[in-house]
């Protein structure tokens, strides 16, 4: 326990225990709010309350911390200024981005927020370390502090750069296909060795803040090298994993500055984030290791099937589609990433309304990994006010396809690819929507282009299938117009 005693001397807290104990209890209350909040978020009806409760807990934690700082009295006026201006500025940016971003860009925004969270966690350790190291004649920083500082900095920095790359891939300013960095493995090895050396040096008792910053830079590079070779399709899982990383980094920051609140909330996110990552990977039929190893959906995989499969394609026009839909009994709409990319969610709702007015039974087949993030289609269609009850899960809707007159596939590709039923290709084993069982099929997409897995889709060459080549938004508008003109809805 000698280590602890040493660290006490250099710690920033005042000895006024009673007040502090009160603050700790309040932080514990806040953490309890986080837990109950997450619990409530396990089910749709209570999810909203859960998030609000969690936010209340956060507000309480921040207020308590401000009270503690004021009570402590060690803060300088400049310190207050940094804290206030920084906090307000950051909050403003966060709020603006959160409010203004398009629905389809949410995953990359979450990734960005995660990046800065990891960065903040790393900075906390760096700032504390720099401060401790700067105290003249200070004894060696206790192992307890230095070990957790290094962990915090490494995890936080990897998260910072890795999450930015992930966001970039989703946003498109970094190519989303797997980018294998030449010599990546070698660079990683060198960096890892450098990290170990630096850590050893710090643990040997050198209060070297430069070394810690060097470690941070090495970790930043590692984050980039880690995420670059992973394909964009796997990004949501990667973001979730990095989210769990940040939680862990925050917990480490809690060890560094001796804050139970940070330890609890950080560990909570570290663990729940890991479980969530596993659930997400399971839903995509992938293993986390497999994803992090990277390379899914490379050009290689595409060429395996991409060769000869292209058979006869039947191309159809808006009028054909309109008539087919208007005289159907039962239409199942299969939305995919293309719907999101074209922002066509409102149009699809309008078309569905039109059809329902004519007495057509319309439902939506939601594949768990359609789009680019789990729940993507739900979020999107909910935005367009599609009734929750019309959204059917894969398990619910698959038995209904044989009874559907038309399956209307809008910008979906991989999730409908019958190749998934065969082994040996990039989508093998993924559960798919049984679109090919419908009586007839219409596919709206711009070209014969590939989906995320980068392989051909035999559905498109099925004799029952009509391809309507158009941007999802433009195509739907054309169909709506055609339905109105030709069939003459009141």
């Amino acid at each position: 326990m000698g280590a602890v005693t040493a660290s006490i001397m250099f710690h920033f807290v005042s000895p006024s225990y009673a007040f502090e104990d009160g603050i700790t209890l309040i932080l514990l209350l806040a953490a309890t709010c986080f837990v109950i909040g997450l619990h409530l978020m396990n089910a749709p009806p209570t999810a909203n309350h859960g998030n609000r409760l969690s936010a209340v807990g956060m507000a309480v934690a921040v207020a308590a911390t401000l009270a503690l700082i004021a009570h402590d009295g060690t803060i300088t006026t400049t310190g207050w200024l940094m804290l206030a201006v920084g906090g307000v500025l950051g909050s403003g940016i966060g709020l603006y981005l959160a409010r203004s971003v398009e629905m389809t860009a949410m995953p990359q925004l979450v990734s960005l927020f995660n990046a800065v969270g990891g960065g903040a966690a790393a900075l906390v350790a760096i700032a504390d370390f720099v401060r401790l190291a700067g105290i003249a004649g200070a004894p060696t920083i206790a192992a307890r502090i230095s070990v957790t500082s290094v962990l915090d900095v490494v995890i936080g920095a990897v998260t910072l750069s890795g999450s930015i790359v992930a966001a970039g891939k989703l946003q498109g300013f970094i190519p989303s296909n797997p980018i294998v960095i030449p010599g990546g493995r070698f660079i990683n090895l060198v960096l890892a060795l450098a990290l170990c050396a630096g850590t050893g040096y710090i643990l040997s008792g050198a209060n070297s803040d430069i070394t810690l910053i060097g470690i941070a830079i090495a970790a930043l590079v590692m984050g980039v090298i880690m995420v670059m070779p992973i394909g964009g399709a796997d990004m949501p899982v990667v973001i979730s994993l990095l989210n769990a990383f940040t939680g862990t980094a925050v917990a480490m920051a809690g060890f560094v500055i001796n804050s139970l609140g940070l330890i609890i909330a950080g560990a909570l996110v570290g663990a729940s984030g890991s479980i969530l990552t596993k659930l997400m990977a399971d839903a995509m039929n992938r293993s986390i290791l497999n994803i992090v190893a990277g390379g899914f959906g490379t050009g290689d995989t595409a060429s395996v099937i991409g060769a000869g499969a292209t058979g006869q394609v039947r191309s159809v026009g808006a009028d054909d589609v309109a008539i087919q839909l208007a005289y159907a009994q039962k239409v199942i709409i299969v939305p995919g990433y293309g719907l999101a990319a074209a922002h066509a969610q409102h149009s699809v709702k309008e078309l569905a309304d039109l059809l329902e007015k004519r007495g057509v039974e319309v439902s939506y087949a939601i594949h768990p990994v359609a789009g680019r993030m789990p729940g993507h289609m739900n979020v999107l269609l909910a935005e367009a006010e599609v009734p929750y009850e019309e959204l059917k899960t894969m398990e619910e809707i698959n038995p209904e396809f044989p009874r559907a007159d038309v399956a209307l596939v809008i910008g979906a590709n991989d999730v409908t690819n019958p190749a998934a039923r065969r082994p040996g290709n990039a989508v093998s084993g993924m559960p798919i929507l049984d679109v090919d069982k419908a009586k007839s099929i219409i596919v709206i997409k711009r070209s014969m282009g590939y989906g995320y897995a980068g392989i051909d889709n035999e559905l498109y060459t099925d004799p029952k299938t009509g391809m309507f080549f158009a941007d999802a938004q433009a195509g739907l508008r054309a169909i709506i117009a055609a339905v109105k003109t030709l069939v003459g809805v009141d």
């Binding site: 280590a3 602890v4 225990y17 997450l38 978020m41 089910a43 749709p44 999810a47 909203n48 859960g50 936010a55 956060m58 921040v62 911390t65 060690t74 803060i75 310190g79 940094m82 201006v85 920084g86 906090g87 500025l89 950051g90 909050s91 940016i93 966060g94 709020l95 981005l97 959160a98 925004l109 979450v110 927020f113 969270g117 960065g119 903040a120 966690a121 906390v124 700032a127 504390d128 401060r131 973001i239 989210n243 925050v250 920051a253 609890i264 950080g266 560990a267 909570l268 479980i275 969530l276 659930l279 997400m280 329902e356 007495g359 789990p374 739900n378 979020v379 006010e385 009734p387 019309e390």
Partner: protein, 108 residues
């Protein structure tokens, strides 16, 4: 308050256990909002950023604290706001005007 390493570790492990247990069978629809919610919670690092600001006494300290505060502020406020926006989508809307068109929409 300075707590002993051993209690800190105990608290860390217990919090991990809570985290593991609190996520149970979430419907896939909620995966993204839940990820975003967890993301907001680690925004609690803002507490750390503030404490760092409270002990800063030189330029380096101030700059680091400032950046940390900006980052953490973005994380926490943006995180909750974006999660809230996602979850708004799941709310039963009290039959807005736009609903009129779906009167015979069956089970809606």
């Amino acid at each position: 308050m300075d707590t002993s390493l051993i209690t800190d570790v105990t608290i860390f492990v217990l919090s991990l256990l809570v985290g593991f247990e609190v996520i149970s069978k979430v419907p896939q629809t909620l995966h993204t909002p839940l990820m975003s919610a967890a993301n907001s919670i680690h925004g609690v690092v803002i507490v750390g950023a503030f404490l760092i600001a409270s002990t800063a006494h030189n330029t380096v300290g101030y700059v680091l604290a400032f950046i940390a505060a900006v980052f953490a502020g973005m994380n926490v406020v943006g995180g909750y706001a974006v999660t809230d926006r996602m979850l708004q989508m799941f709310q039963r809307r009290p039959a807005p005007a736009a609903k009129e068109a779906t009167e015979q929409g069956g089970n809606s």
